[in-house]
Symmetry: C2
Subunit: 236 residues, 2 copies
């Protein structure tokens, strides 16, 4: 972790520990520089990172303010491969239905820029939150990037392993979502009636070098999934 990331982490922790509320003002730049004993450029980068993460917002000429969503029980839609930070209050577990090294479907090949002769790890899981089904998930990992998976790894956080175990740098992702009715298979895995509503989310995860490495298809139990997104102004 780089210095400015470390400082950003500490500022975020300070906001959490002191339960600062939306709109509360942070100390001025000079105070933060002194407190953390870093240069102006470092603290500026830390604050830019926190702004991108939706932790603070800056008003020109006026200061830096705390930004936080106010609702408990909502998961971040944009970090759904890392439930841990959002769901600290919850307990998420996985049941592995299938783990297989195989050839990709046409759909998976298209989304991962592979041919039908390349190898992928196929993972099928049901995830649970506080003992309730949270989602049903099918994922395809490009084997030439995610070189090894086993049952133990996929029963935990695969992304934690990808980052820490394989040392890969996870970059941007493209997310496609729509709402529909559960089919029979999904309904059985989720313990709901066929025809009940579902949130269906497809995500293509890329490394920082732009290579797609994971194509995932997730069907959420509508009774268990409430999401938030923090959008910054450039997105509007």
């Amino acid at each position: 972790m780089l210095k400015y990331q470390q400082i950003a982490f500490e500022i975020e922790k300070y906001i959490e520990d002191n339960s600062l509320q939306q709109g509360e003002k942070l100390p001025v730049l000079e105070t933060l520089m002194n407190q953390f004993e870093v240069s102006k450029s470092t603290i500026t980068k830390s604050l830019e990172l926190l702004e991108k993460k939706g932790v603070v917002f800056q008003v020109r000429g006026s200061g830096i303010f705390v930004r936080r969503h106010k609702r408990k029980g909502y998961m971040s839609l944009l970090s759904n491969q890392g439930f841990k930070s959002d769901l600290e209050d919850f307990h998420v577990t996985s049941k592995v239905i299938e783990l297989e090294l195989r050839k990709p479907t046409q759909e998976a090949a298209d989304n991962l820029n592979l041919t039908l002769n390349d190898d992928v790890y196929y993972v099928k899981r049901v995830r649970y939150i506080n003992g309730q089904t949270l989602c049903f998930e099918e994922s395809y990992y490009n084997k030439s990037i995610v070189t090894y998976l086993n049952e133990e790894i996929v029963s935990e956080s695969i992304f934690h392993y990808i980052r820490e175990g394989l040392g890969l740098k996870v970059g941007f992702s493209d997310i496609f979502l729509h709402v529909d009715k559960l089919n029979k298979e999904e309904a059985e895995y989720l313990g709901l009636e066929a025809g009940a509503p579902k949130l269906y989310v497809e995500t293509i995860f890329h490394l920082t070098n732009g290579q797609p490495f994971d194509f995932s298809k997730v069907t959420y139990n509508y009774q268990q999934s409430q999401f938030f997104i923090q959008a910054t102004n450039h997105l509007l």
Copy 2:
């Protein structure tokens, strides 16, 4: 529009006009500087903006590459108050059900940081896409910020008016979403059966100074709404 925004716009247009594909490399910095006759710092800011917008991605030591989602017919979930750019191929219209200056509900007051004695404009609309219902929308605008609305304005793009007509600077927004079943009123407005799936999205829009000015509750017709989100790495 500032210089770097103008250049960013032109680079984006160049990518569109030449149908550049995901992963295609853009010219190096020096070439872009010469081509647009601007400084290195300007072109760098332009590229940073395009990266935030999900139009390009940068690989350190390697260059700048085109990033684009590949699916037609998906709307951006993070710019749902500005259908125009995403839905160029589509035709979106609105039917105004109600427009009233009134006191906020408790829920609207909470989300807009108002008291129950403050004034809000309440707008209830059904929006259509290619002749089909797209969504049913209820919005509350803080009257002390959005000082005037009339029937003609709310039958068009309210956000266009807020930006251009009132000169307000729209900043970040907090989005909360979940999936549920349509109630009777929603089903009637959308022309669907009660109990059919819905995507329900609440958004609190803020000015760049952090003031919330619009609390909107939108129920989407699940048959008409497919969304994409481009997430950048800091969000994961």
